[in-house]
Assembly symmetry: none
Homo-oligomer: 411 residues x 2
Amino acid sequence: MNAEIIAIGSEMLTPTRVDTNSLWLTDQLNKLGVEVVSKTIVGDDRERLTATLSASISRSDIILITGGLGPTEDDLTRECVATATGRCMSFRPELLQAIADRFASMKKSMAENNRRQAYLIDGADALDNPNGTAPGQFLELGGPKAIVLLPGPPREMKPMYANHIEPRLKAMLPPLFIASVWYRVAGMGESDLDQLIAPVYTKYPHVVTTVLAKPGDVEVHLRARAATQNAADAELAAVAPKIRELLGERVYSEDGATLEASVGRMLKSRGATLGVAESCTGGMLGERITAVPGSSAYFKGGFLTYSNEMKTTLLGVPAELIAEHTEVSEPVAKAMAEGARERIGCTWALSVTGYAGPDGGTEANPVGTVFIGLAGPEGTQARRFFTIPDRHRVRTIASTTALDWLRKSLS
Amino acid sequence: MNAEIIAIGSEMLTPTRVDTNSLWLTDQLNKLGVEVVSKTIVGDDRERLTATLSASISRSDIILITGGLGPTEDDLTRECVATATGRCMSFRPELLQAIADRFASMKKSMAENNRRQAYLIDGADALDNPNGTAPGQFLELGGPKAIVLLPGPPREMKPMYANHIEPRLKAMLPPLFIASVWYRVAGMGESDLDQLIAPVYTKYPHVVTTVLAKPGDVEVHLRARAATQNAADAELAAVAPKIRELLGERVYSEDGATLEASVGRMLKSRGATLGVAESCTGGMLGERITAVPGSSAYFKGGFLTYSNEMKTTLLGVPAELIAEHTEVSEPVAKAMAEGARERIGCTWALSVTGYAGPDGGTEANPVGTVFIGLAGPEGTQARRFFTIPDRHRVRTIASTTALDWLRKSLS
């Protein structure tokens, strides 16, 4: 079965408001094996809202609607769902009594317009809301199909979903089991990766394959769903090893761990330590390494040498070496890594020096050129790479490339 | 005129993915006086996508579509918009050439499937994409009505909107003038700030006031819209100075500049230089300072001293001082800042040492405690602060607090 989520309210259509309810509900539905196929945010406009609801109801199995259950004229969800399903609403004295009781318990007086919240769509179950005034509504139609009206405030919506909606949806759904794996890969672009693995995954349409990309970092998610766990596992097993083989040593994690966490695990298990010497990344490499809780077990420290003078003073890179080769060069990257390894006394040291832009660069090494150095127990190496000259992208890919090189050296 | 925004891609329907493009586009459209009446996210499903597009095109004036312009089989936007508008697509050799040139400039080979990106909907203008392979498309229909196809990655989408879409939409719309200002503030929570300024801005409902919060950093945006620039300026002038006065010296920029850019400008104008010594932030402070283009004019370098040993070896913090006071203490923060200032030879040095968690901390200084040191021409000081113990939040607020302290010292 599939689901749509509709958030109602003009205040949800401002430049700063994020519909966090739909993210939380998506997670809940995915756990039941229900895929969210569409999300909509629509303002408080009767005609537009009714049209949106009618279209959703006609094409999807589960419609979760949040918001628009308040007492004001702008709160149109109840009426528009009734119109879209061709049903009437009835006034329910017991619902009004519950609202009145809630106001009384807060020692507030109930306004006349709260009466609007006591109307129930014919055939729907009213859902108790201990955290607010608006009752929810659950309407099951043949098909089976479910239309759910939930209040907008997360602190009212979430308990109502957990206590009333999830049990009802579970009863409607066939038992469903999920098998999934995700491969995270560094050093490969999204389209190159897709071209590599598409010939395989397109042959297995029952396994949902998602490719998610960030600069220098791609995640491939495979998910199989079936009526038994064995069947889901078997579906996944038919395709996952083939994808895994194609990706080869590029895969740095299979459990969602970040590159920095994966490298951290490897260092820790080997009892090895790490230091850094950063120029163009200015701290990003250290920041990423130490974003991992417990990284003090293997990360000792580093040097930010943003000027040539600092490369010489702090890391001992000879001024003549910089004068001869420029600061963005293989010899300087090597000398930075060696200087850091020696001063920190760590097993491995990574260095980064490059032109992040927008200014700088030479004809031979334009903006986007980065040299990475790696000093370790068996010596020091450096390598050059080039990426499109966007400052944030250059720095992100530089730190990713450095970490991934260390990972491969540790494997 | 009104607008709808449609984001396309199954990856946008996961529990963690926020459609930030639509927030940015809403802001841009609001500046043109266009209201967003609906936002939709729909997966890579031909039938559902075509139905969604058809409905939107039939009821709204401007349809902005992001995503689904890539080279893979899943990228259906071009085809589905063509179907929904009853138009054909044509292969355009000049578009393929532009894509091929882009690959060549990156010294990469173009894949065969990139050919899909060279199809243009009949009647549409192709929009140049200097930041990616997918050209955008702008289709104007009678009404007037505009259908816009934009790439999904924000770094491709935003310049394309600014350079190609905004001028075209402006030509379609009645003239509207805007006056706006934004005050960025560090060191104050969102609700405290709102409580301070709400009594003023609620009196001026024609000026749209938006409060945006990130950890340790709040932005107040005021915007007036009118049929002439003079009228918009006058509306803004009635309220902005009152808000500015209430915020006082907490305001670090009035033009949208980040805290690190504001501090950078101040350092540069004074001919002063900066260095850092980071423990719990692990490089985040340096990373933020150097995220600003041209920061090499004032940022010299720094030390990442993640272990106590490194604090002693690299910065000269006496081991006895650490033993006596612990590494998260005022004397150690001071000694770190002084050690960095001396070794780097900079005008100012900032240090950060704290418990970012989840482990660590003492009874007196639990996780969330951070000491910041500032060494400058007139001596060294340190201060303590405490925030809720979330690793990323502690590190972010620590780097913000350090930068804001330097800003105040420079004012």
